[in-house]
Symmetry: C2
Subunit: 207 residues, 2 copies
Amino acid sequence: MTVAVSEQTRERLLSAAREVFSECGFQGATVREICRRAGANVAAVNYHFGSKDALLAEALHFESLKLLQETNAQADACPEVRLGLFVRDFMHMLLDENSTSSQCKIMARELADPTPALDQIVREAIAPLHDYLAGLVREIVGDGVSDIELHRCVHSITGQCLYYHHSHPVLQRLHPELRYDGTEIDAIAKHIADFSLQGLKHLGKQA
Amino acid sequence: MTVAVSEQTRERLLSAAREVFSECGFQGATVREICRRAGANVAAVNYHFGSKDALLAEALHFESLKLLQETNAQADACPEVRLGLFVRDFMHMLLDENSTSSQCKIMARELADPTPALDQIVREAIAPLHDYLAGLVREIVGDGVSDIELHRCVHSITGQCLYYHHSHPVLQRLHPELRYDGTEIDAIAKHIADFSLQGLKHLGKQA
DNA sequence: AAGCGTATCAAACGCTCGTTTGAATTTCAA
DNA sequence: TTGAAATTCAAACGAGCGTTTGATACGCTT
């Protein structure tokens, strides 16, 4: 079973890479730390993947994000409720420490700091996600809204979601009692969904 | 005028540091690049400030953020309009390339990546800003809203604003035609203000 | 058991980083 | 003008990084 042994190391490296990339970002993550957590030698990354860049590219497979869209699209409910479900599931992927889908966290981290993999991330994950949300929002607001305004609404929703993830260090200092447990994440998601739905419902009205 | 010459180098270093920190973040910024732009020797930073950390701490003085709050607080208008003005001015500080206040951009960059200066940033800039916005939102929503829900509303507003800044690389790939000129920034700010005001006005209503 | 390709390993390479050094230069009061 | 203090400079230091190397250990076929 020589192949199996090799595959074990490869998989352990990929798993450790997702962990470290999502915790430290691409720049902050070191090949040495990834190998340490995988119980492998420093040279293992370059042997199995060729480079740190290629390891990131392999570690990025957005099955969970696709799954999120598909399960949401299959939900038998009105678009308003589906938006709420989407926000809830998305927030759990972003914030839940026990979440197995660290790809989402890696993605969030790379938003601001372009790496060679950003084009791939945008193409395979962010653009489809954005388009799906845009379709959902279109169902809610109808045809009387321009595409530009529609995109801005999507940005308003994703901006609220990502804020809790990427500003976590700040929020912890602002509200030391803040903990991201399951019920807190649900409450935050409900707030974002309700807040945004009101913004969508009354679109165009002057405040 | 020996003092003046020395002061000139110090000031050039501070100015260059604000530039590079806001462009590249603390990790990405290098002492060599800062000194190059300041026309100074590599050793200048450590001679004048002691370390890269200390340079960041000195480069952070949030007069412009305080000014933003004060001018907004003095505005003779209802809280709804003042929120709109606040969002507009804040977005210009975040997005306008000609904006002289790079402190705001440095701050935004450091949100996700804790540096030794983050405690100072939160204490001197973010917390006052958050509190000011919380007061403004409280005026709008009244007393029937819990503090927790109030904070979440503030996060919804700042989250939308910061998204356009920290996700700029992604948004450029999603919408290649996007440019942050003055009128575009105004339009984005108006959208965020209107969108958020509807969320605030109808707080507590199920969607 | 021998031979071969695969996988792992300790060690080191080349590079960049923040920082330090010590000499050279500039400044300005005495 | 002179001398001490302040400033600038080229050069190098030490540490950490991604990566490479060449030897070693392993698994499997023959």
